[in-house]
Each structure stands twice: as structure tokens, then as C-alpha cells.
Symmetry: C2
Subunit: 141 residues, 2 copies
């Protein structure tokens, strides 16, 4: 499936980092800094290139920045089957939604709205419990 792919310590380190940080989203910059902090000598360019390659290969998932002036975030994508995800707009926490309700909802959308939902590419936006509470207290906006 892949030809001419050399295995380098940088590539390994980058995948390993995302793999063990699977619960979190990292920007390229953050990944870079983390690697440096761990004593891994690597260039930022290499991190960018590795991330691009990993996204193409489906190993990482890419989250587009909400507002400009933010960087894209990347996350290890352990799940092959696509299902919906919801992400907290505040803190970035993410939840996987594989349940019957989601499937039923997808069916409804196809039947009544004529759209085929792409669960793999859709990212629901919301607030996690903690952030929702904080928002209430603050009572702003």
C-alpha cells in the first residue's frame, strides 16, 4: 500500500506522541514543543509534514480552527468506523457519539431532508457540562 516510506525516529516520535495523547487535541506547534520538551530533537517543518501525511493516511483527524488566528488541531484517530463527535467550544473536550439515536437521526435526515450525513466529517459544536455551568454562573453573552 505504501512504497518508498522510510522509517525515521522523527516520524515514530510524532505518531507516538499523538497516540499517547489520543484524548486531547494538539496543534502542530504544541506537538512540536512537546517533542522538544521530551528531548526529541526535531524541526517544526518535519512536524508539519508528518502531520499532513498522517492526516492523509487517516491516522490523525484534523479540526479546523473555529476563529481565524487559531491554529488547526490534530488528534489521533483510533476509531476506524466513522461516528459523530461533539466538541466543547470552550475547552475543546470531545465526546464520541456512537449510539442508536445518532443512527436514527442520520436516517431521518436522509429520509426527510435529502441529505446523506457524513459522520466522519461532521463535528457537532456545544458545551460540555463543566463549561455550561461556568457559562451560567458568568451569565455573560
Amino acid at each position: 500500500m505504501q512504497r518508498g516510506n522510510y522509517q525515521t525516529r522523527q516520524q515514530e516520535a510524532i505518531v507516538a506522541l499523538f497516540e499517547r495523547s489520543a484524548h486531547a487535541c494538539l496543534t502542530a506547534e504544541e506537538a512540536y514543543r512537546q517533542l522538544l520538551a521530551e528531548g526529541m530533537d526535531v524541526g517544526k517543518t518535519t512536524v508539519y509534514r508528518a502531520i499532513t501525511k498522517l492526516c492523509d493516511a487517516g491516522v490523525l483527524r484534523r479540526y479546523a480552527p473555529q476563529s481565524s488566528s487559531e491554529a488547526a488541531q490534530y488528534q489521533y484517530n483510533p476509531c476506524r468506523e466513522s461516528h459523530l463527535h461533539i466538541r466543547c467550544a470552550q475547552c475543546g473536550a470531545m465526546e464520541h457519539l456512537h449510539c442508536d439515536e445518532v443512527e436514527a437521526f442520520a436516517v431521518h435526515i436522509r429520509a426527510h431532508h435529502g441529505f446523506v450525513l457524513d459522520e466522519g466529517r461532521t463535528m457537532l459544536c456545544g458545551l460540555c457540562q463543566d463549561c455550561a455551568k461556568k457559562q451560567e454562573k458568568a451569565g455573560v453573552e
Copy 2:
């Protein structure tokens, strides 16, 4: 609600452009070019600033670029009440989803997954009927 807002020909022209292009998504650059093409003398900076303001006011909706090296897109947002939208990844067609199923789905997410769905900010990704058919025929990817 708004204080100290002057009404200028530039601002008017920019809103008007998006309003009459409500069916489409425009990048800041495209909006800028369109205005120039129509003989409207305006600076790109002004377009950016107006768009930012309009997004804050809820008049325009912002779509984050999928891949980097793309620009953000903006669209006139005629609907005040927030409800879910689904957008065709292929052709950009958008559908408004206000129905009981959506509400039920939101309730489910809150009850079972601990997230408060932000319908205003969420954009479901999918394929419209036409594009789904084309995809089938092509049979690619």
C-alpha cells in the same frame, strides 16, 4: 442595541452584497472582488472589518476553512432562531433543519452525553441528493 454606528456606503454595499448572495458562500476576497467589479470602490481591509462586525452581530455566518490554505467563507444568515444546518461538502448547498427530530436529538445529547448542543454554531456535513448520486456513479474514494 448599537451605539455609535455610522452608516457608510461601504457598509451598506457589503451587507447588500451578502444579502443578495444569500444562497452562496463568499470568501472575504471574493466579496471584495465582486464589489470592485460592481464599481464599488472599497478597501479590502474595510471588507474584512465589516465582515467581522456582521458576524458578531449574527448577520453573517462564518464557515471555517476545511483545509488550511483555504479562506474562511461567509454567508448571509437570514434566520434569527438558531437551528441546525447541514451543508453539502461537494456543492455547498445548505439546508435548514427545524423539526422535532432535531430537538429530540439535542435533548438526547444533553441527557446521555452531557453536552449542550449549540445549534447556531454547528454545521452538519454531508452530501445533498444530487451530489450523492454523482458520487455513486463516479464510484471513487
